[in-house]
């Protein structure tokens, strides 16, 4: 069986599945249940000066039958006293010494205060820290969370406050509410961080109730922007993780967060450069038990491919991402519809007709629509394959044009040579 053990900048866990700092890691009771279910590690709900929360706090984005493809929250950090949290951290660590417990911290940019918080939490026996520079609401108005995480110089300075007081690895959790995450990731590294984690939640407004015209969720008729997470944010998170993974100036391990719901999602994060993953929304939706299939599915996948450990997948697809100018302009594919499995819904037809290149031919024979691709005109955009409800019915097939690979960069350089 494949070795699922994971090591993020010296923080070891029996598997790469951690719970993100959020409601599922609010208390010792929950963390013990999570460890019993099999989670490899937890990032404790962010510690700091206890706050007061509002009600309501969450709202969900549903899409047709599917509930919670996105979740928005206006909750703040822990509302429980620090000494209670630390006592429970101690108990959890004693019961499950092989699992990783990471203390998530938030504090105003004050060196003495950071020192005090780091020392107190370190004494409770955590394996590492995660600095919460990401919370996009409430805390940011008080000069913490994303108020720090959006300014590279503050990220660097505050990171160094924590690192100089700490004897264990420090992870900096980054906010996606910024134009280019590499700048804050580099700043974290300059401040001495041993790893970065991303993404925290994205600024969002869930919607408006059309009966009352109140925002969703509302607190006595009013709302504020919240933080967005869940399956819908995964592509944004993957991009940020990969940007950092390929950046030599970042150069430290990454914990991937954002929309991880199953082992397949987790593998994508690993392939694109993350060392482990953290999960919040999927557990809020289904409970701790989902980790069983995460472990089982990942392990079966690695076994089936004869891979011995996670190291063989981490970053394996990382450098398959480049800038557009380097892509091969001579690579050609076209759509092909499998007549055996086609259910004749004509979705591909109308998508191509109205929104692509008008190259699917449709003939109605005995009331049944027969669909065929005009491969001479198909530009290989993928749209028909994407809208087709039948898995593998539309295949994008390679067209052999015998042209050597050539990128736009190469082609424009050649053009410049020809006509100076």
């Amino acid at each position: 069986m494949a070795d699922l053990r994971s090591d993020l900048a010296g923080i070891k866990s029996p598997n790469p599945f951690w719970l993100a700092s959020a409601p599922p890691t609010n208390s010792g009771y929950q963390v013990l249940r999570a460890f019993e279910a099999g989670w490899g590690g937890v990032v404790w709900k962010t510690l700091g000066d206890p706050i007061v929360n509002v009600t309501a706090r969450f709202a969900g984005l549903n899409w047709k039958q599917n509930r919670l493809i996105g979740l928005n929250n206006i909750e703040l950090i822990t509302d429980r006293p620090l000494d209670v949290n630390l006592k429970e951290i101690r108990e959890c660590k004693a019961r499950f010494p092989d699992r990783a417990i990471v203390g998530s911290l938030m504090e105003v940019p004050d060196r003495a205060k950071w020192r005090e918080l780091v020392k107190a939490v370190q004494d409770a026996g955590v394996d590492g820290f995660e600095l919460n520079f990401g919370c996009p609401h409430g805390m940011s108005e008080r000069g913490m969370g994303s108020a720090v995480g959006q300014q590279p110089d503050l990220v660097e300075r505050v990171t160094s406050y924590a690192v100089e007081a700490s004897e264990i690895p420090v992870i900096v959790k980054l906010t996606p509410n910024i134009t280019d995450v590499r700048h804050t990731a580099r700043a974290a590294r300059r401040g001495g961080a041993h790893a970065v984690s991303m993404i925290n939640t994205i600024n969002s407004l869930m919607g408006v109730d059309l009966e009352t015209w109140n925002p969703i969720p509302h607190v006595d008729g009013m709302s504020s922007h919240g933080g967005y997470c869940g399956p819908a944010v995964k592509p944004i998170a993957l991009n940020m993780v990969n940007d950092c993974a390929r950046d030599p100036e970042v150069g430290i391990p990454i914990s991937g967060i954002g929309g991880v719901s199953n082992w397949q999602d987790a593998l994508e994060f690993l392939l694109l450069g993350a060392t482990n993953v953290q999960v919040c929304t999927a557990v809020m939706h289904h409970g701790f038990a989902i980790v069983e299939d995460m472990i089982d599915g990942l392990s079966n996948y690695l076994d089936a491919r004869g891979l011995a450990s996670l190291n063989e997948v981490i970053g394996a697809s990382q450098n398959k991402i480049t800038t557009w100018e380097n892509l091969n302009l001579n690579y050609a594919i076209v759509a092909e519809i499998d007549q055996e499995t086609c259910i004749h819904c004509s979705k591909c037809y109308i998508a191509c007709e109205d929104a692509a290149h008008q190259c699917i031919e449709r003939a109605v024979v005995d009331g049944v629509a027969m669909l065929r691709v005009d491969q001479d005109h198909c530009v290989g955009c993928n749209l028909c394959m994407m809208v087709c409800p039948v898995e593998d019915c539309i295949d994008m097939v390679r067209v052999e044009n015998n042209l050597p690979p050539e990128s736009w960069k190469e082609r424009s350089a050649r053009a410049a040579l020809v006509s100076p």
Binding site: Q264, D293, G297, Y301, E391
Partner: protein, 444 residues
């Protein structure tokens, strides 16, 4: 794709429709992943249904198949013959909207994957305990007990009277519901864990029970039930009168059953009757009619079986009891009498309506009035029984210490059902009890 479901040629292919990949995706993603799911509670073997379906949705088919087989060593036959609408699917929260998740079909999808991937190894035998267990009968109950006993690390020897394992799964259930190939595959999966098989050995006849008790540390009795009992009416030994089990077995194994003629009369209304009816019809008999001495509501066949029989063009006659079989060298008909069930009776027993006798022409008669109890065998095994049912406690221990029982031999109306899935669960329970017994040291 290799298919394990092709029936014996003249009987036609499986009645189960294979889900398309699209249907599987839709169905698997429709499951709500209920907490403490009612489907799991309704399954006698408590398969974690939501888990195996969730694993299909994530493409983890090995994990999915393992969840099923771990809870139910008979996962392949159960995915074909379980009355799911009365078990898991009947309990699904979507049942209220009449659209329960197609759990049985999804289970078949997972196990079909497993059958195609013969190199996948799901279970390992446990570390050897040095203890030896004999199992009498290698049907669903015996095989399930064997599988778990091997996982516990005990050595297992199965004695079976027949030349092939898997009991009624192999010889009893019609091939268009459960093919020989599936029944054989299922037995092989258990044998992969290293089981000694003594086929063609009748315990109590060829081998004495005392010899078993002397040679082994514990014994599990899983010998099922016997053949169809006698009708007890004149003429039933005439050529053309069949014991339903004998009839189905010959048809399933592709052996000669001769010309059934065009009018087949089947007596009885249980699982066996339905299998005999549909089998006779598929063998080409023009009119196949079921005669039952009670009403439609009292039929013991499952709803889905009744529906299936209707679709196959079977005719049904209720409230008719056979009086005698007619004919001199071969059956020519049956004399029936109409019956009625007195409304005020406590245990509704049909009574004959005087003067309502009628003659029903027949070219063949198949008796399917249930299965007899193996009382002689139980006597020879020296275990107590009540009305032909082996007496067991909650741990499935018989009156004889170290001897446990499971499956149809302990089937008791209103207490335990005669079903493959129940046999599987009882086999598992017996294995756990044997394990506890052997580890307690009580046997020495």
């Amino acid at each position: 794709m290799q298919s394990y479901d092709s029936g014996a040629a003249p009987l036609g292919d499986s009645i189960q429709k294979t889900l398309t990949d699209l249907e599987v995706t839709i169905e698997a993603n429709r499951c709500l992943n209920c907490y403490d799911a009612p489907c799991m509670r309704a399954c006698p073997t408590h398969i974690d249904v939501a888990s195996f379906i969730g694993k299909i949705a994530t493409g983890n088919l090995k994990g999915s198949a393992r969840v099923i087989m771990d809870a139910n060593p008979m996962g392949a036959s159960c995915a074909r013959v379980c009355p799911t609408e009365e078990l898991c699917e009947g309990a699904c929260v979507y049942k209220k909207d009449d659209s329960p998740i197609r759990i049985g079909d999804l289970q078949r999808y997972s196990i079909d994957w497993l059958m195609r991937n013969d190199d996948v190894k799901l279970f390992e035998p446990g570390t050897s305990t040095g203890k030896r267990v004999a199992i009498v009968g290698g049907g669903p109950a015996g095989l399930s007990a064997a599988r778990d006993l091997r996982r516990f690390g005990h050595a297992v020897t199965i004695f079976d009277a027949r030349d092939e394992l898997n009991g009624l799964n192999t010889f009893g259930i019609v091939p268009f519901r459960l093919s020989l190939d599936v029944a054989r595959w299922e037995a092989r999966e258990v044998l992969k864990l290293g089981v000694d098989v003594r086929a063609g050995v009748r315990v109590g006849v060829d081998v004495a029970m005392d010899a078993l008790v002397a040679e082994f540390d514990a014994v599990v009795i899983a010998c099922g039930m016997g053949g169809v009992p006698k009708l007890g009416i004149p003429g039933e030994d005439l050529p053309g009168v069949w014991d339903a089990l004998d009839f189905i077995e010959r048809a399933k194994l592709g052996r000669e059953v001769g010309d059934l003629g065009d009018r087949v009369v089947v007596i009885g209304a249980g699982n066996t009757a339905v299998d005999a009816l549909t089998c006779a019809k598929r063998l080409g008999a023009e009119r196949v009619t079921m005669f039952y001495r009670r009403g439609e509501e009292q039929m013991t066949a499952y709803e889905f079986e009744y529906e299936f029989a209707k679709q196959e063009g079977i005719e049904f006659r209720f409230y008719c009891a056979p009086l005698r079989v007619l004919g001199s060298t071969h059956v020519t008909g049956v004399e029936f009498v109409r019956t009625t069930i007195p409304p005020d009776s406590i245990k509704p027993a049909p009574v004959h309506v005087p003067g309502s006798e009628f003659l029903e022409p027949a070219t063949a008669v198949i008796s399917a009035i249930g299965q007899s109890r193996l009382t002689q065998t139980f006597d020879a095994l020296g275990i107590a029984m009540d009305d032909g049912v082996v007496r067991v406690n909650d741990e499935l221990q018989t009156s004889r210490p170290g001897v446990f029982a499971a499956g149809d031999c302990i089937f008791e109306k209103g207490m335990r059902e005669a079903m493959v899935v129940e046999a599987a669960e009882q086999g598992k329970t017996a294995a756990s009890s044997v394990d506890a017994y052997l580890r307690s040291g009580a046997h020495v």
